[in-house]
Structures are given as C-alpha cells and as structure tokens.
Amino acid sequence: MWAMSPWLTDRPIDVGQLLSDAASAGAGGTVVFLGTVRRSAEDGAIEAIEYSAYDEMAEAEFERIVAEATARWPQARVALRHRIGLVPLGEASVVIVTAAPHRAEAYAASRFLIEETKRRAPIWKKERFLSGQSRWVEGQQGGG
C-alpha cells in the first residue's frame, strides 16, 4: 500500500533508487545514512522489529522536515524513506540521502534529517524476540 509513497514503504528500501533521486551534476559530496535493526547485548535476541506509523501524519511530518532541511541547506538535494511493518535483523528501517556541492552541507543535512525524524516522526516500534515475546520500544516525547 505504500509502494507509491515518497516517504513510507513496506518493502526493503532501495538505496540505489534514493541515490538516483538525490543525484545531481553539482553534487560533490553525498552522505547516505542507514538505520538498521541491530542485535544488542542489552536487548537480547531480537528477531525483527515491527514498525507502525500514523501514516498520514508521518508523510506530512517528513514533508515538513525535508522542507526545513532544504531551507537551511538550499543547495542540498534530499531523499528519505522509512520502512513500515516487520523489518528483519540487519535490514534498514530508514535511509536518508543528502547530496550537496560540498561535503559539510551533506553531513549537516543528513544529521539534521535523522535527528528530526527520531524526534518528530510519528512512528513506533515493537521488538520481536526469538522467544516469541514482544515489547514496545520506549521512545521520546514527540513534538514539532
């Protein structure tokens, strides 16, 4: 259902496509950020994470976050996609591409976009363990 959305998808994120979307002849530095479902000692044996979203608001919030980034870094080109649904260990839940004439802008815009995504995007995750148990991940107070 999200296949046509610019921001959300229920399929593995196509990094090559996002790189193409952000490419331009004027880009000298391109930064790709991938957030990946990881195994960690404190969390135990995670099998996958299930992401859910307030879809319509997430789309609107991504529009706003990207508009803010391009207002701050006018020469940057941006592509962003967040995955929804069950994301297996090792696969990306979010991919952000920023391309700019100079690398400093590409890094700064990338960092801004992931921090704002984590702070504001109305998206939640539930860890699913090999044991069959599951648990909502405690997030941060959302806010614009």
Partner: protein
C-alpha cells in the same frame, strides 16, 4: 461514540480521536469520536479521553497532534478535526 461523525448540534462539535501503538493496544481500539462543546480545545479533548477506563495508561502530558500536526493543548478545535494522541515516538 464511534459511529460516523455526523453534524453535532449548534453548540457542539464532533472530533475524531486517533490512538496508536501502545495507546491503541491499551484502549483496544484505534479511533473514537467525541462530541465536545463548541470552543473546546485539544486539552479538553484529552480530558474527555481520560474519562475512559484504559486511559490511566496515558502519561500526564502526552504529545497531541491536530489535523496531522503537533499542537499545543490550548489550540481550539473545530467540527471534524482529527486529534491524535501520540505515544513517545521511536522511528528511525
């Protein structure tokens, strides 16, 4: 309270409340309609939701969005508004 949102009376507005993630799980539903007095705010909608038995699950000041945008409690609601109670977010 959960039927389709028809027109409310002249002194009342009807708004749609949306719930997500752990809140929806606690409530056993992901939306409900509320009839509020005309001039009601987002904080008033939240207070009405607190009347529901599952709502002890809500923190003192949950984040709220009105019409898909984060909003402060004092924002005035209008007929047909969508008010979402946003659990702590964990995207990325």
């Amino acid at each position: 309270m959960t039927g389709p949102a028809g027109a409310a009376g002249a002194d009342a507005i009807r708004v749609r409340i949306r719930l997500f993630a752990s809140y929806a799980e606690a409530a056993g539903r992901d939306e409900l309609d509320l009839v509020l007095s005309a001039g009601a705010t987002a904080a008033d909608a939240l207070a009405a939701v607190r009347g529901q038995p599952w709502a002890s699950r809500l923190p003192p000041s949950p984040a709220v969005a009105v019409n898909r945008r984060y909003a402060k409690g004092e924002i005035a609601l209008r007929e047909g508004d969508e008010v979402a109670i946003i659990p702590p977010v964990a995207g990325g």
